[in-house]
Symmetry: C2
Subunit: 338 residues, 2 copies
DNA sequence: CTTGGCACTCGCCAGGAAGGAGTGCCAGGG
DNA sequence: CCCTGGCACTCCTTCCTGGCGAGTGCCAAG
């Protein structure tokens, strides 16, 4: 176990390195933080910390830099989430209050997060699989062609074109629409399959094919996880990464473009509470020099989606975590008001 | 007027510079292109081209680099759009054919363009203002709260929540829905205002308020240009820009995040035919060292939106233009089939 | 366990020299 | 009149070198 002071030294190293982006040496440490001990002592502590793998030297005779393991310890034990200032909180609320629809909420959230953290922000759209049905609409486009529109309680709208095996009359359509809605409105998606399974039976034989097709399209839409969308923003902040650019920034941009990667990333995070994944803890290899701070948000007590930021492992964890948490909270409120 | 050979020299310079990213000298030119003249002659031609402002020297005793004006001449007079190879065309078609809905079409198009051109791709969603109404749906969320859903012929769906001044019954709602649809389905957006202006009159006094509110929300949705959405992709390709990174890449990333900027950019392009804006021809100052190649696309003969790529002024214009044109053509086909 | 001292390691930063690509100009030839 | 080869010149780039300084590890003493 590390002594109290050694932890203090680690904390100081992380803080300084995050601030200066330069390896930090023993002398500078004692000057900037009043550790009440001499540089020589700090050197011994540093040697011990290095031995344990919390810090490393880029090369002999350079200062120390925290390792992923060091950041991990820092985040777990040494850092307090830094709450936002009152003006910041007000600004968040004001900005989010101006949103007119779901796209707008998500868009504003992304911009907000990116601005507050000065990092890349990622916001997942409220997930279909955890929300409930507000309405299902069926429209006739052509005699044997329907459009299915699904509206969720989070305000999300999904539409699909359905090609029917046989023409389907307007009255049957109204009938189906009414029955569908009376059964599934207000229900969670996971319940829907059980609630509509017997619907085809109550229709004439020649209409059953169409009804079944519509239902399977509906269920497909509900299940389809690949349809989970997200929005990212603040990629310009990547340019503050370091100066050895192309190599650092490129894989990150590539990873960010792969929505699948990001969704997986967010999916791996805990459902409740904040998750911080540091460096190599991220499975994707383009993101091994980044950290991801994410948290679930939702309109009620339950999370319906996640949001977070992606930044260099050398980031201001307390501040970032504070911003992420605050934004998630306010977005949840906004969604609930709807 | 420049002699034929000098134009040829300019073309060679552009081609070489695009390939090597390095200033090109007279000797290398005569070797790589069989110009049938000596380096000394080329030097004279280069001096003339420089005099006219088509090329420039980064510094004395370096090779020449094309200026914006040089690229402009190249694009206007010297370059042929390079058609894609048959396999490439097949690949495009196959890839786009797999799309399931509008979002998917646009998403695939972006990825395709980014991959083909190895640059940043921008695709505007089919514009509301030029398309026609396929259906308007009205749903009752609460006694005095409606949801308005607008579906366009391009498959785009917009929804708005409408707060009514007074409760609005289900029968009135059905009535309004039916009348609205019978009047405006199939009409272009620009026609809609004139077609619905007298609708409130045919309703009871206490319902007129609601009807008017619904109508104005509808018209708002139709007009609202800020709602024009677009998708971008291939930002990772920015890392191939040069090596003086942060300064070059940053403003571009920032500009790309501002959808307004991009929409304006695309809006400035000609409605028909391909538009190439080179370097300082782009109004936005973050994009003065980039070129934008854009073209309209649409389901019929008329363009409903635009797409294009953003890349360094030093780009392969013939190839890029070929890819952009081809992709636009195929996307148009896909939309038309719908 | 802490501290000051001390030798040592290396990365970083001028400063200078060598190399080379490219130019401009000029005089001669078709 | 235009093209060509030759030549001197410019100036960027690269490499090397030496000095500087930050930082370390180790040691002996308190």
């Amino acid at each position: 176990m590390l002594s109290e002071r050694r932890l203090e030294v680690l904390r100081a190293i992380v803080q300084d390195y995050v601030g200066t982006e330069e390896p930090v040496g023993s002398k500078a440490l004692t000057e900037r933080h009043n550790l009440q001990v001499s540089p020589a002592t700090v050197r011994n502590d540093m040697a011990a910390l290095e031995e344990e793998g919390y810090i490393a030297q880029p090369h002999t005779s350079a200062g120390r830099v925290p390792t992923d393991k060091g950041y991990r310890l820092f985040v777990d034990k040494l850092a307090d989430v830094k709450p936002l200032s009152a003006p910041e909180r007000r600004a968040i609320q004001n900005f989010l209050d101006g949103a007119v629809d779901l796209d707008d909420v998500v868009g504003r959230t992304v911009r907000l997060l990116a601005q507050l953290t000065r990092q890349v922000a990622v916001v997942q759209y409220p997930s279909l699989s955890r929300s409930t049905v507000r309405h299902v609409e069926l429209l006739s486009l052509a005699p044997a062609r329907l459009m299915l529109v699904l509206i969720t309680d989070t305000g999300r709208v999904e539409q699909r074109v359905v090609d029917c095996p046989a023409p389907f009359g307007e009255t049957s359509l109204a009938d189906l629409r009414a029955r569908l809605n009376s059964r599934i409105v207000g229900q969670r998606f996971s319940e829907v399959p059980g609630l509509v399974a017997d619907l085809p039976e109550s229709f004439d034989l020649e209409e059953r094919g169409t009804v079944s097709t519509v239902l399977s399209t509906l269920l497909e839409t509900l299940v389809e996880e690949t349809e989970e969308r997200l929005m990212i923003g603040g990629t310009a902040n990547l340019t503050r990464f370091g100066q050895d650019f192309p190599l650092t920034i490129r894989p990150v941009l590539e990873a960010l473009e792969e929505q699948v990667v990001l969704l997986k990333l967010l999916g791996e995070a805990k459902d409740s509470g904040m998750t911080v994944r540091i460096g190599h803890e991220n499975a994707h290899e383009g993101l091994t020099s980044t950290s991801v701070v994410s948290v679930g948000y939702g309109s009620g007590d339950e999370a319906v989606a996640k949001l977070g930021v992606v930044g260099p492992t050398r980031m201001d964890y307390p501040g970032t975590m504070g911003a992420v948490r605050a934004v998630a909270r306010y977005v949840g409120q906004i969604l609930a008001e709807n």
